[in-house]
């Protein structure tokens, strides 16, 4: 009896549960997407789901909101700025984190464990509290408001989690690999680029995704280190300004929100096969 119940519970209801959960997960975003295509007066008068009564009645949709957002002065510039900020702020710290994770995982040096714990422990530092001391220094050396300043800031802030995740993976690589590399006389740098990096591609890819998303979606760090200037401000800043200036205009906000989501989604979907294969982050081998 129990067995049959379990078999029943794990088969057809499995699909019902999964699909129901997926629908719940999608619903808020779908509502936003539909709203972004609706004319302002409709958005204020009726719920977005009313379009579903006649989904193919195309007169109830409009591209005007997107036109307004995309050709809003500065959105193009903001997109370029976001790219200039995000690409170096993703690649630089991942290289440095991989170097460090390799050292912590496979090299002997005094204080190694203690240092690693401190590095991981730094994950707990609330970012807001680092702003004032660092801004003071940045102002003194005149780098506040420049791209290198924010690249380094994102590199520093992302480092603990990246070292932690990459260490979990790199430490799990088989010891034999390193032993035989050492017997073959491979230098540590050769071992790193020939063995550690190629074998860690899934972990590196997933860390790339997390850091990219984090930097692309960041508003606070950009606001602090770049200031509010549209010359250097990213997309999130532009959208936040729209929220401020367009307050309750849902149709504009929803379209803007979708514009800001476009690139992260492309990055995610193009790298997601590494997720499906399994990222083995943390101590899967633990």
């Amino acid at each position: 009896m129990r067995r049959r119940t379990m078999g029943f519970l794990t088969r057809s209801p499995l699909h019902v549960v999964l699909i129901a959960l997926a629908l719940i997960w999608m619903l808020p975003t779908v509502g936003l997407l539909i709203t972004s295509f609706r004319p302002p007066q409709d958005v204020g008068d009726t719920g977005w789901w009313t379009v579903l009564a006649h989904p193919f009645n195309f007169t109830q949709y409009t591209l005007a909101n997107y036109k307004a957002v995309l050709f809003e002065e500065g959105m193009g510039r903001a997109f370029v700025n976001s790219l200039i900020i995000t690409v170096p702020a993703t690649l630089l710290p991942i290289l440095l984190a991989a170097f460090a994770a390799y050292a912590f995982a496979w090299m002997e040096f005094p204080g190694r464990n203690l240092l690693f714990m401190i590095v991981v422990g730094l994950m707990v530092v609330p970012l807001q509290m680092t702003f004032i001391p660092i801004l003071t220094i940045f102002a003194k050396i005149r780098v506040a408001g420049t791209f290198p300043a924010i690249w380094l800031a994102h590199a520093g802030y992302g480092m603990p989690l990246m070292v932690y995740l990459l260490h979990g993976f790199i430490a799990g690589l088989p010891r034999d690999l390193f032993d035989s590399a050492a017997i073959d006389g491979a230098s540590s740098i050769k071992t790193f680029f020939r063995i550690v990096v190629p074998l860690s591609v899934p972990a590196i890819a997933s860390v790339v995704i997390f850091q990219f998303l984090w930097v692309w979606n960041d508003l606070l760090v950009a606001l602090i280190y770049l200031g509010g200037s549209p010359n250097v401000g990213p997309v999130t800043l532009r959208v936040a300004n729209l929220v401020g200036s367009r307050g309750q205009q849902w149709e504009v906000l929803t379209a803007a929100a979708f514009v800001s989501m476009a690139l992260p989604l492309v990055v995610f979907f193009s790298l997601q096969r590494y997720f499906v294969r399994g990222i083995l982050a943390g101590s899967v081998k633990g």
Partner: protein
């Protein structure tokens, strides 16, 4: 591996330098500031700490942080686990994984807009444009001010946003670990007559335990610092204050550096138990190798 003494420092050095500049030095400076007045000039002893543990809004923030840690962590990790284990058995795994992960790719500005729209409130006489209130009214109820009803409804509504955003993260990592479990183990248990629940309890859970520990501690550390969601959606009004948002307000709205620094130090102290868990785990891992 035998290497020259300075070689490890060459590898770890750049990362450590960045960490010292961006995290260690500012933290030390913050700890110092927590004993000083609002402008960081006069020494005030423990006065800021007395404020932190007695002020009403601060106490509310402590309660809400506890609520976040409990509810958010429980749901993100367990839902992530449910998705990881169940999705492995269906052919449309990739589609649903993408759907659950998508919120991770959305900025807080975007997610805030999405959920404010879900929670939108209109008086009973007007047509509801928020999904939740439309459902409530559809069943004959009165529209609810989801983000205003204190203290449980609005806080839970904010936590739901967090769960919606972060379950994908837990799912991805747990799923990776799950797929790493040799399928023969489950097959063997099945042949021995174990049912699916027993396999889950006796085979899957123990093998996933290290990863669950990693994900749980990561979530707790993350959620103790929760800021964006509250900042964007309620800014801590209506008893939804959390510590990090309070700290931001003290620092940038009220200009009280001493109090802001104190809240940061308190947050750090709260997170120390998590560090100890991580350290223990790291030592165990070392022992195995």
């Amino acid at each position: 591996m035998r290497t020259r003494r300075w070689v490890p420092w060459l590898y770890a050095g750049p990362a450590l330098l960045l960490l010292i500049f961006f995290l260690v030095y500012p933290s030390v400076d913050t700890a110092r500031l927590s004993f000083f007045d609002r402008r960081g000039e006069a020494f005030v002893g423990l006065q800021n700490y007395r404020y932190a543990f007695t002020n009403d809004t601060m106490l509310t923030a402590f309660r809400n942080n506890a609520l976040w840690v409990g509810v958010f962590t429980l749901f993100t990790v367990s839902l992530g686990l449910v998705f990881a284990v169940l999705l492995d058995r269906v052919r449309y795994e990739r589609i649903i994984k993408s759907i659950v992960f998508i919120p991770m790719a959305i900025s807080m500005v975007g997610a805030g807009t999405i959920w404010k729209f879900v929670y939108a409130y209109r008086p009973a006489s007007a047509a509801q444009i928020g999904l939740l209130n439309a459902i409530v009214v559809g069943f004959g109820g009165q529209p609810i001010g989801w983000l205003i009803e204190r203290p449980w409804i609005n806080n839970l509504c904010l936590i739901v946003v967090g769960i919606w955003m972060w379950t994908g993260f837990c799912m991805v990592i747990l799923s990776a670990a799950y797929k790493n479990i040799p399928k023969q183990l489950m097959e063997a248990a099945r042949i021995d007559g174990a049912n699916e629940w027993q396999i889950f309890r006796r085979v899957i859970l123990p093998l996933l335990k290290p990863t669950i520990a990693v994900v749980t501690t990561t979530m707790i550390v993350f959620v103790l610092k929760i800021f964006d969601i509250v900042y964007v959606m309620t800014n801590g009004n209506f008893s939804t204050e959390v510590l990090a948002n309070r700290m931001y307000k003290e620092q940038f709205s009220f200009g009280n550096h001493g109090r802001a620094a104190t809240i940061a130090v308190v947050l750090l102290i709260l997170i120390i138990p998590m560090m100890i868990v991580n350290i223990r785990r790291f030592k165990q891992q070392e022992a195995i190798r």
